[in-house]
């Protein structure tokens, strides 16, 4: 005689199975816009969901938006790093001694080896991001206060995301310690209101914008302005392709409008003028 039907009804429910292929759409490898533009577009899209009225009706919506934002940040970092491995010889040189799993080599195409390189590395924390940027690009972002401050916010949001993903928003001792929460919060649950969502999104936008500027400065300086490889000594026809790929990677369309060949050349000329 079963016992469980004394606790909850043993109703026969229609079958429901997860078919994994239903959850994905096949997209081309190349990203339609620069990583920063993708980030801004995804972030702007998700912001509009979380209105005060929607948040009131759906209390879990705020947490989902936080998950989305953290995911967009991680995606930005992954894209920038893998793209630089694909287009930048200095970054490729730095990666020569790094190991890639066989499975990743088998799964990714040749031009996606950058993604294969960081495939198993979680980027859901400031330490991981700092380490990867240092190893692949050779840039120590610890020296930049703006990025450091925003990365601390990212670290906190990742910890909050942890509570949402693993305990339906309930906080654990480990999370509380990392978030530096005082004692009254030991029985608390993540509750994200309109103001906190707006602040989180603003802080992450600051992070992405600062990172984009910092990495761009570093890449342009080390590749095009470096003493041993001065930008002025090269003919445009030789440098055109390499410079265009770099410009497309860091260009922020939402600030400067769409990028075309004329704009790339103007940017190159302005850069030359600045360093002449």
């Amino acid at each position: 005689m079963p016992i469980h039907d004394l606790f909850s009804p043993n109703t026969v429910l229609p079958e429901a199975r997860v078919e994994t292929t239903d959850y994905f759409t096949i997209t081309p490898i190349l990203y339609p816009s620069s990583p920063i533009d993708s980030y801004i577009s995804q972030s702007n899209d998700i912001i509009k969901l979380a209105t005060p009225a929607q948040l009131k009706t759906h209390p879990n919506l705020g947490g989902l938006v936080i998950l989305g934002i953290v995911s967009f940040v991680e995606k930005y970092v992954r894209t920038i790093l893998s793209s630089l491995v694909a287009i930048n010889q200095n970054c490729r040189n730095r990666c020569y001694d790094m190991q890639i799993r066989f499975g990743s080599i088998d799964w990714y195409k040749h031009e996606q080896m950058g993604l294969a390189l960081i495939d198993r590395d979680p980027l859901s924390g400031s330490k991981e991001i700092k380490a990867k940027i240092l190893n692949i690009i050779g840039l120590d972002i610890n020296k930049n206060e703006s990025v450091k401050a925003s990365l601390q916010d990212y670290e906190n949001l990742c910890e909050i995301r942890h509570c949402i993903v693993h305990a339906a928003g309930h906080i654990g001792a480990n999370n509380a310690q990392k978030l530096n929460l005082p004692e009254p919060y030991n029985s608390s649950v993540v509750s994200v209101n309109f103001g906190t969502i707006q602040t989180s999104i603003a802080s992450m936008e600051n992070l992405i914008r600062s990172l984009n500027l910092l990495i761009c400065d570093h890449v342009i300086t080390t590749n095009f302005i470096h003493e041993t490889n001065p930008i002025f000594s090269k003919d445009w026809s030789i440098i055109n392709e390499e410079f265009s790929r770099t410009a497309r990677l860091f260009w922020c369309e939402s600030d400067f409008g769409p990028l075309d060949d004329i704009k790339i050349k103007t940017t190159f000329d302005n850069l030359q003028l600045r360093f002449l």
Partner: protein, 554 residues
């Protein structure tokens, strides 16, 4: 008695002047709490004597080896630091460094006073005072400085305790003046986060705050993390007049006191008109003495009424300036101006019609955040003062307020008679049968208070959709980032029209070609330039400069 005897700000008085003019507000309990252990928050409106208490504590402790080592720091330059860090991701980190750097630099002032060389200790902790000074000066000068200064509340406490040991003191007290001198809640919250971190067994921080408008943040638990000490004298208190007159005797010359006493009831009335704010009382008396000396009058002097009106004008300017400092609250301030005039009218009608005696107003308790905000702004400016709530049985609870007595005198809310005298008004205020005139919440702003108190927010710069609310950082229609302007830069851009001076004087300033905005009036040497303008004169040069300073501070 020095030239500085009418100086309104304790921060500007020398040690000797301060000790000469100081008078205990109470039986010494506050001073005891300030020298004792534990975090404390000294809460009072402007001019109530917070800085005086801090400075008195500072010198008292410096002068006695039995007391802890005092460190006095003033944060009145908050606004400039906020402005320098505006829209920068590291603004709060830099602000934190500024708060701690100022404490370290102030500890050097204490050791200098005690003739102790603390530099070796700073070196031991790898702190370079020249670097700290440069950092603080550049921020306060409006230049954002991201110099890495390795200072945390813990490290600051360690340094202070090492200095205290050198000075043969067992403990340290931190006297953090003008701690709530900012209207950006993020900065205030950051400040109180640091404040909490500075509270140790042997280090006790004390901060001066304003009632109502200070944001402590979620991490700071008022009452648990720090005890609130209300400062100020209540005009209803039996010893009030005795205290105020005692304070006056320390500030004026005997012949000046005689001049004030010539008018029966004048000193007492000015004390009541100050509504418990010593700075107001001293200023009104000095105005009267100055006016009588320059232009003596016979009989009932007009100069006494003018002294009261002068101070009233100052607090009204201070109140209205909130809408310049925090433009989003413009509607609140407008509603508040109507509301306190309505309060004054209500008391007047009550006293005139019923031949009763009331200086209080009791407003039906209503749970409204907007109404609370309105009242808080008025408390900050000292327009009204909360008194104990009263219960009226079935009619419910009523919030009881003392409306600024100076304003009540100016608006003639108390006595109907035309030829009212100073003495008559003093007796009215002192009557023990003063009752509370009760009014309903719904009568406020014709029942439209909650509707009219909305935030004034700029729309989205891209699609012009109005901002959803004060917390919105993105447009909810197009997703664009909404930009905030720096409060300080907006404040100093204000035209001189915001000054409370006559139209003729405003025109004279504009004609000079030097003074178009408040920013032009801020430099110290502006007073001299103002003095040279026809139609301004010495008194108004000072007054205009003071007004500009007040309007640009929090």
């Amino acid at each position: 008695m020095s030239e500085n005897r009418f100086e309104q700000h304790a921060e500007k008085l020398s040690r000797d002047e301060l000790l000469e003019y100081y008078k205990d507000i109470d039986d010494g309990t506050i001073l005891k709490k300030l020298t004792g252990r534990g975090a404390k928050l000294l809460s009072a409106p402007r001019g109530a004597g917070k800085s005086m208490l801090f400075k008195k504590t500072y010198y008292k402790c410096l002068d006695s080896i039995d007391h802890p080592l005092p460190v006095y720091t003033n944060y009145s330059q908050y606004f400039r630091v906020e402005d320098a860090g505006h829209n920068r991701p590291t603004a709060l980190i830099t602000f934190r460094r500024w708060v701690l750097s100022k404490i370290i630099l102030s500890s050097i002032n204490s050791t200098d006073y005690l003739n102790i060389a603390a530099l070796s200790i700073l070196e031991q902790f790898e702190i370079n005072p020249t670097q700290l000074t440069r950092f603080v000066e550049s921020l306060e000068g409006g230049t954002f400085d991201e110099t890495e200064i390795e200072l945390s509340p813990d490290k600051t406490c360690e340094i202070l305790l090492a200095i205290a040991k050198m000075a043969n003191r067992k403990r340290v007290i931190l006297l953090l003046d003008d701690a709530a001198h900012a209207f950006t809640p993020e900065f205030q919250r950051e400040f109180f986060d640091v404040f909490r971190g500075l509270n140790k067994f042997l280090v006790s921080p004390k901060a001066a705050v304003y009632p109502g408008v200070t944001s402590y943040g979620a991490r700071f638990n008022v009452g648990h993390d720090a005890e609130i000490i209300p400062v100020g004298l209540e005009p209803e208190n039996q010893s009030y007049l005795e205290h105020m007159i005692g304070l006056l005797e320390k500030r004026v010359l005997p012949e000046e006191l005689q001049l004030l006493k010539k008018q029966d009831g004048l000193i007492e009335l000015l004390a009541f008109a100050a509504s418990g704010i010593p700075r107001a009382f001293i200023l009104m008396c000095s105005y009267y003495i100055d006016a009588e000396t320059r232009n003596p009058t016979k009989g009932a002097s007009q100069n006494g009424w003018e002294a009261i009106n002068e101070w009233n004008q100052y607090i009204e300017t201070l109140y209205e300036s909130i809408s310049i400092k925090v433009p989003r609250f413009k509607n609140y301030i407008q509603c508040g101006s109507e509301l306190y005039r309505y309060f004054l009218e209500a008391i007047k009608t009550y006293n005139y019609k019923n031949n009763k005696h009331s200086i209080y107003l009791a407003v039906e308790e209503k749970n409204s955040a907007r109404y609370d905000m309105l009242i808080q702004f008025m408390e900050y400016a000292g327009i009204l003062f909360r008194r104990k709530q009263i219960s009226q049985g079935e009619s419910g609870l009523f919030n009881r307020y003392l409306i600024h007595l100076g304003l009540q005198i100016q608006h003639k809310t108390l006595i109907k008679s035309r030829g009212r005298s100073y003495r008559q008004l003093v007796e009215f205020i002192q009557r023990p049968d003063n009752v509370n005139h009760r009014i309903s919440y719904l009568s406020l702003l014709s029942g439209k208070l909650d509707e009219r108190c909305s935030l004034e927010l700029p729309p989205c710069p891209v699609c012009r959709t109005p901002r959803l609310n004060g917390e919105a950082k993105y447009c909810m229609t197009c997703g664009s980032r909404l930009s905030d302007t720096s409060i300080y830069s907006e404040i100093i851009k204000q035209p001189i029209n915001v000054l409370k001076i006559t139209q003729n004087k405003k025109e004279a300033l504009l004609r000079s070609g030097y003074f178009n905005t408040l920013a032009d009036l801020l430099p110290e040497n502006a007073i001299e330039q103002l003095y040279r303008i026809d139609g301004i004169g010495r008194h108004w040069a000072n007054e205009i400069w003071q007004q500009a300073q007040e309007l640009t501070l929090a």
